[in-house]
């Protein structure tokens, strides 16, 4: 099977990673950075892929790790008081997301635990099975199943 070129990998998977990252950063610019760093990591590791599913799993995992790194650093950001408490939360996604119902979705997603955001995305958007998500995230199916249940519960609470 032929090796997939770098440009093709970017074209095929960039938007998936962008959607994952933006749910963690709440900010497109930061999300773009995370995605680009993920692809940079791919080049640095000199990874070669012959099928897109394999590449996608690697990229998703790498992007999620970078998102968690980001959250660790974003934590400092939230430590910085601006002028009042309200502004210490992550900025609302604005401008990029059109209608109010989409905004409501993003507001809700940002209120649940980071691990749950990933599972919700992989399950409901990418339509992976629990077993597939478990393989991608290198967790047990039980863990994923439990996260999904808790994610749904948290979403219900925040909506």
């Amino acid at each position: 099977m032929e090796e997939i070129g770098f440009e093709e990998l970017v074209i095929t998977h960039y938007n998936t990673l962008l959607r994952i990252a933006i749910q963690h950063t709440g900010n497109r610019s930061e999300a773009e950075d995370i995605v680009q760093e993920t692809f940079l990591q791919l080049l640095e590791k000199k990874k070669n892929f012959h099928d897109h599913e394999h590449a996608k799993a690697f990229l998703i995992r790498a992007a999620i790790n970078r998102c968690f790194d980001y959250l660790k650093s974003a934590r400092h950001k939230r430590n910085i008081p601006l002028t009042d408490v309200e502004e210490n939360v992550l900025p609302k996604l604005s401008g990029d997301f059109g209608d109010e119902s989409s905004q409501a979705v993003y507001d809700a997603i940002q209120k649940i635990r980071p691990e749950y955001r990933n599972v919700i995305y992989l399950y409901y958007y990418e339509e992976y099975s629990i077993k597939e998500i478990a393989a991608i995230l290198r967790k047990s199916s039980n863990t994923i199943s439990s996260w999904l249940t808790r994610a749904r519960k948290q979403l219900k609470e925040v909506l």
Partner: protein
Amino acid sequence: MNKKDYQAAMRQIYAEKEELIIKAKQIQARYDEQQNQSSRSIHMKRGWLTGIIAASVLLVCSTFTVGAINNWNYTAVFHKYFSEKSGKKITYDFSDMGMDINESYKQNGYELKLGSVIADANSLYISYNFRLDEEYAMKLPQMNGQIYGRLLPSMHLKDADGSYIKDGITVSRISKQNEDGSFDCVARHSIDNCSDYSDKTLVVDIGVPAYAGTLSYMQNTDTSEEGIHTPLPTSSERHMYSLNGITNIKGITNDNGIRLIDGPYSAYFDSVTVSPLGITFRCADIPVTPPESTEPNVKIGQGSYGYEFTPSLCEEEEGAELGAQITHYYPVPAEYHNTHLRSVTLVYRDGTELEAELENGIAIGRTKMSESGEYDLMDIYAAVDFTTPLSLDNLTAVRINGREIPMQ
């Protein structure tokens, strides 16, 4: 929200194919540039590593060093740091607790003034002032707000034997911009149970400041953000400071064993320590099924574990294998531990009580496989900061989620 709403919202996040082609080329170009720099850097390192003496000479004779600053008022800096964090005026007396470094370094891109250090057993606070050169500062819009990101020289701690103390991570907090364009910053380095800093060394890699990161600024009542990534030039300049002048800010420990219960969860800790700067929980060994309980408080999954109580120990790092003697670092965002660590109240002899406002913290632990084949957590320590230093004078107890624990 149903699946359709979610998918519709997600579909709105995308980049067009033409844009992606450009991005691919940009990433490739960035990688190529990095490779070029890296080969240059390796060449430099080889030269630099020709001998310790040569390296020392290079450090001492560094053209970046400007000299010492006098009269750095570290008390004022730390008061500013804590008062901006808490929004309250700080009266805590740091006199005679810190150690002044008072040195200033300038290199192409920025000027760094290292101020002072204060510490308790779990945190080392390093104050510094940072000013970007005009060339870089010009790239930041005029603002009345904050800059944050990684205006942080790389800092590490070395033990007496020269090894790096790896249980700490450094985070930085940056003040509002001063009139002269500089920022007063405080880096906080986590460290576990250090009662004596006299044989420790602070290592500061001046030349690895990362970059001026995201900018947040106020426009009317809205907070705006701009992602401005301005890489600064790097160098191999490194400075080391003995911490032999720090008076450790003492805490009070209850090591009689503490069980905390929160709804269906319970957790056992060997000890709890309160210092003016924060609270720390320790446990040498958390079995899957803890003492006096039929319910496990450690949940083990394949490749992951979760410690479902205060303070949360979260996911392990990618690639870590359970059973190995590994250390996990996990900064715990305030919103995580606030779920379970709902309140910490200091109780004083005269009957007054003071509820501590909690900041972010860190949880660290190791895993091991027990004889029965189950995984246990070991050497847990979790530290949670207070937003403002609190006095421990005449403290008699600390109440955690309503459970009073004597502290005398």
